[in-house]
Structures are given as C-alpha cells and as structure tokens.
C-alpha cells in the first residue's frame, strides 16, 4: 500500500516537472519574443521624442542650413533654422526616376516568367533575379558609379543614384509581378484567348487590371525598401547643398542629409527629425500597401 502511494507520488512528480518544463519553455519563448519587438518601439520612441522639436513648416520648405548658421543657432540655444527640402526633392526625384527605370522592365520580366513558367531559360532568369536581389546595395553603388557616373553623366548625378535604386527595385517587382499573376485564375485568361483577343491585349486588359492591387502593392513595397538607402547614393548621387532637378547633376536625398548631419557636430540635432520624416515615408508606403492587401482579401 505504502509503496503504491510512493509510486503514485513519483508519477505525479514526473508529470509536474514535465508541466513545469513546458511552462518554462513557453515563458522563454514569450520573453524572447518581447525582446524581439522592443527595438522597433525603442527606435520609434527615440525618433519622435528627439525629432519632433525640429519639425515645423520651414523643415519642409527650406533647404539644409550650412554649418555656420547651425552653430549660431546652437550658441543662442535656438532650434536650428532651415529644413531638408533639398533632401526631400532629391529623394522624390530619384525614387521617381528609379521607378521609371524599374517598373516597366520589372513588369515585363514578371509577365515573361509567368508565361514561360517551367522553361529552363525562365529558371535561369529567375535565378539571376535572386542573385541580383542578394547583391549588397554598396556593390550596386559601385556598378552605378562605373556605368553611369563614369560612363554617362561624367560626374556624380541623380541619374546614377536612380540607376542603383532602380536595380534594387527590379528583382522585388519581378517577383511580386510573377506571384500576383500566378494567383489570377487561368480561366479568366483563357476566356479572353477563346474570344480571339491578341496576347498583348490580354496582358493590358485582363492580367494587369485583374492583378492591379497586387502589382501596386509590390511596387509600393519595393519603393519603401529603397527610399532609405544611403550607401549606394554616397557613391553615385553624392549630395548637394541646394534643390536640384537636373538628373545629370549631384543631388541630395534625405538619407544622404542624415549622413551629413551625423558627421557635422553643429547639425547633429537634425538627424532625429530627418530620420523621423524618412520613417514616416516608409510607414505610409507600408500602410497603404497593407490596406490594399486587406481590401483585396475581403
């Protein structure tokens, strides 16, 4: 009788340790997950708490101050005058140009892969797309330097920066285009073909309109990936003091300005507000694309 009680106790103890181990494991998973999401909160908190003071209308309508102006403002304990207009216009110019380069080619290649799904050559193209997606952005900056800065514009230029950014966008757009088209039911396409519609019209009137939200999401996400790129622009667009719309001239961009502010002790206060603006750009792009995806799923 006694031995049975001891046995049962031992058995229960075994169960308890197993339950305990299970709970400890879950606890570790939860703690680590919490640690994982904490940086995003901390980073955004830092940007807002340090950056909001500098943000006013002038921040969007004036160009970056020079270091002397910033020094005087610092000496008088005022906020630094000027803004990041040259960065914002430069970023918009280069993102627009990169999109013009990458979107048409990306869509066409995506359609090509969708059409020739299983062919050997299509697989090669797919592998190359993957390789380009994996190339570090600084290496793409090197390439843009040799092809565009040295070869076309003979000097640092917005075009060179846009080329580097465009090459970064390309694989993302190709991939999202192919994935989106794969989701479209074959029957829709076949209905068009059965009516004798020529293929380019199927693409323009059936595939692109049906997959429009997916294609747009892919493009927006691609833009949100490149908008904060700094390294390739240092080798290509270089930066400029004023607003520049000439694609053959050096151009500033928000990330380039952040880098300049970071390296200038007088202007270092501007890094947080500029980073905050850049983050808001990225977040808006992400939110719009999430919204589109959610709408599509409903």
């Amino acid at each position: 009788m006694i031995s049975l009680i001891i046995k049962t106790k031992k058995y229960l103890k075994g169960i308890n340790t197993r339950i305990l181990k299970n709970q400890i494991f879950a606890g570790v998973v939860f703690v680590f997950s919490f640690i994982t999401i904490s940086p995003i909160v901390l980073i955004i908190y830092k940007l807002i708490s340090k950056g909001y003071k500098q943000i006013n209308l002038a921040f969007f309508t004036e160009i970056a101050p020079d270091t002397y102006e910033a020094m005087i403002a610092l000496g008088n304990n005022k906020i630094i005058p000027g803004g990041i207009l040259n960065g914002i216009t430069g970023t918009l110019l280069m993102v627009a140009l990169a999109s013009i380069i990458a979107i048409p080619i990306g869509l066409l290649i995506g359609i090509f892969l969708y059409e020739n799904n299983k062919k050997k050559y299509a697989n090669i193209v797919r592998d190359i797309t993957d390789i380009i997606q994996g190339v570090p952005s600084i290496v793409l900056g090197l390439i843009a330097y040799f092809w565009v800065v040295k070869g076309i514009t003979h000097g640092f230029s917005a075009l060179a920066g846009s080329f580097a950014l465009g090459v970064m966008m390309l694989p993302l757009i190709i991939r999202s285009t192919e994935e989106t088209l794969k989701m479209i039911p074959e029957t829709i396409k076949e209905a068009g073909l059965a009516l004798g519609v020529p293929y380019h019209k199927i693409i323009l009137r059936v595939l692109i309109p049906t997959g429009f939200s997916g294609l747009l999401t892919g493009i927006l996400l691609a833009i949100s990936r490149i908008i904060g790129e700094t390294a390739p622009l240092m080798l290509t667009a270089l930066g400029s003091m004023g607003v520049n719309y000439n694609i053959e001239k050096p151009t500033s961009a928000v990330p380039l300005l952040i880098w300049e502010f970071y390296n200038d002790p007088n202007m270092v206060d501007l890094i947080w507000s500029s980073s905050l603006i850049l983050m808001i750009f990225v977040l808006i792009l992400n939110l719009i694309s999430k919204h589109i995806i959610a709408k599509k799923n409903n």
Partner: protein, 284 residues
Amino acid sequence: MLNSEKNTKILLFLASLTIVLMASGMVLTLINGSIPIFKEFGINFIFSTKWNPTEGKEAYGALPFIAGTIITSIIAILICFPLAFSTSLFIGEYYRGKKLAKIVGTMVDMLAGIPSIVYGLWGFYVLRPLIVDLGFNSQGYGIFTAGIILAIMIIPYATSITTEIIMMVSNDLKEAGYSLGATRKDVILQIIIPNARSGIFSSYILAFGRALGETMAVTMLIGNTNIIPKSIFDTGNTMASVIANQFGEADGLKLSALIAIGLLLFVITGLINGTGKLLIRKLS
C-alpha cells in the same frame, strides 16, 4: 496586326534579356576593375592582412575585411537565432491565427522597413553608450556592437520564413503527438523542429547573406580599423564599410582594391544566398 502575337513574345523575351545582360555586365565590370590589383599582388590580395595606401609603400590585403564581415555576421546570426526563432514560435504556434500574433508579426515586419542609417544612429546614440556603461569596451565601437545591430536588422528576414515553415508542419503529426500525452514543448522540440529543420536552416542562411552586405549601420559602429579582430569587443572593419568609407578618396591601385573587395563580396553573398535558395527549393 498579324505579327502582334509574335511582337509581344519578342518584347517579353527582350525584357528578360536585359536582366541577364545586366547581371553579366556587373560581373564583367567588377572583374575588369579588379584586374590591376590582382596583377600587382596576385592571390595574396585575398590572404594578406596589410592595408597601406601610402604612395610608394602601397600594400593591399583584403583578409581583415573578409574576416570582419564574416565574424560580425556570425555574431549577428547567433544573437538573432534565439530571438527570431522564439518569435516564429510565438506567431506560428503559440498564438497562431490570433490577433496578438498579427500585432507581433506587424511589428517584426516594421523592423525591415527601418533604413540602415537609422539603425546606425540608434546604435550610435543608444546602444553604444550602453556597451560603454556595461564596461565591455571603452569606446563602445566594435564587432560586438555592430553584430547586435545587424542581429536586429536581420530578425524580420529570419522570422518571416521560419514562421511560414513552422506553420506548414502538418497538424496530423502535431495532434498525434498531443494524443500521446506530449506537452507543447515536446511537440515543438520533437515534431515541429525535426520536420521543419532544413527550412529553418535555410532561412537563417538567407538572413546571414543579408547581414554580409549591410553597410551604413555597420560603418557607424564597427570602429573602422583595418585589423583582424582578436576578441569579441575589438574593433574591425567589413568589406561593405571599407568600400563606403574609402571610396571617396580612392583612385589607381586603391580603387582597384576596393572594386576587388566588391567582387569578393558579390561572390560570397552570391554563394551564401545560392545555398539558401537551393535548400528551400529542395524542400518544395
């Protein structure tokens, strides 16, 4: 009109040809730019640790940068693994399909949206002082600091693929485990992980590939000294950051050395990513 079918096909084919030509052009440009340095130093360029741009005494070796790149990325993946894997379990198993999982997933995705330079700033002004306060290192710069930031940066890439793979493990298997009295921990360790092993492995290889090429955040934190780091708190330099730092004033042999480093980086990331993709393809 008759030829429009054919024209569309030709147009699509030509588009696909641009990316093939572009990729080959890139490799050729990098090889072409690296020829002078390999002519001067031969294969020693890869294995030498000397980096001296002074004219007359010029010596270039890429080993400190190769070592720095690989070491920081390994530190990053070691820190990233427990965090990202736990998060994958949180999203894909513990709170699967629940609202909380969605919120956590969105927050992890947001990490991928933060520009590299903002990570650099945060690392410089928040993380670096912390490292100094903890007494690891007097300046706070170094491969450890850079590794932590890199780990945060690659978490979203590792998490998203691993979560998907964990969710693909068949419910029948898991239920069979539970019916035998297994706890959730047992199911995770003995059913989910063994089944998803190769997928998890390849997702961390891809995250590793990401870490290799990161530039700005690393440049701002690693200390930029051209030596092979001997301890985890030493400063160092990576291939990407030496290109970013020294490109501005480079010409002649030094420029060629930087391009050769770019070529090596291209090859290394290509190999790592290729391995990861190959493993994933084998799975499906």
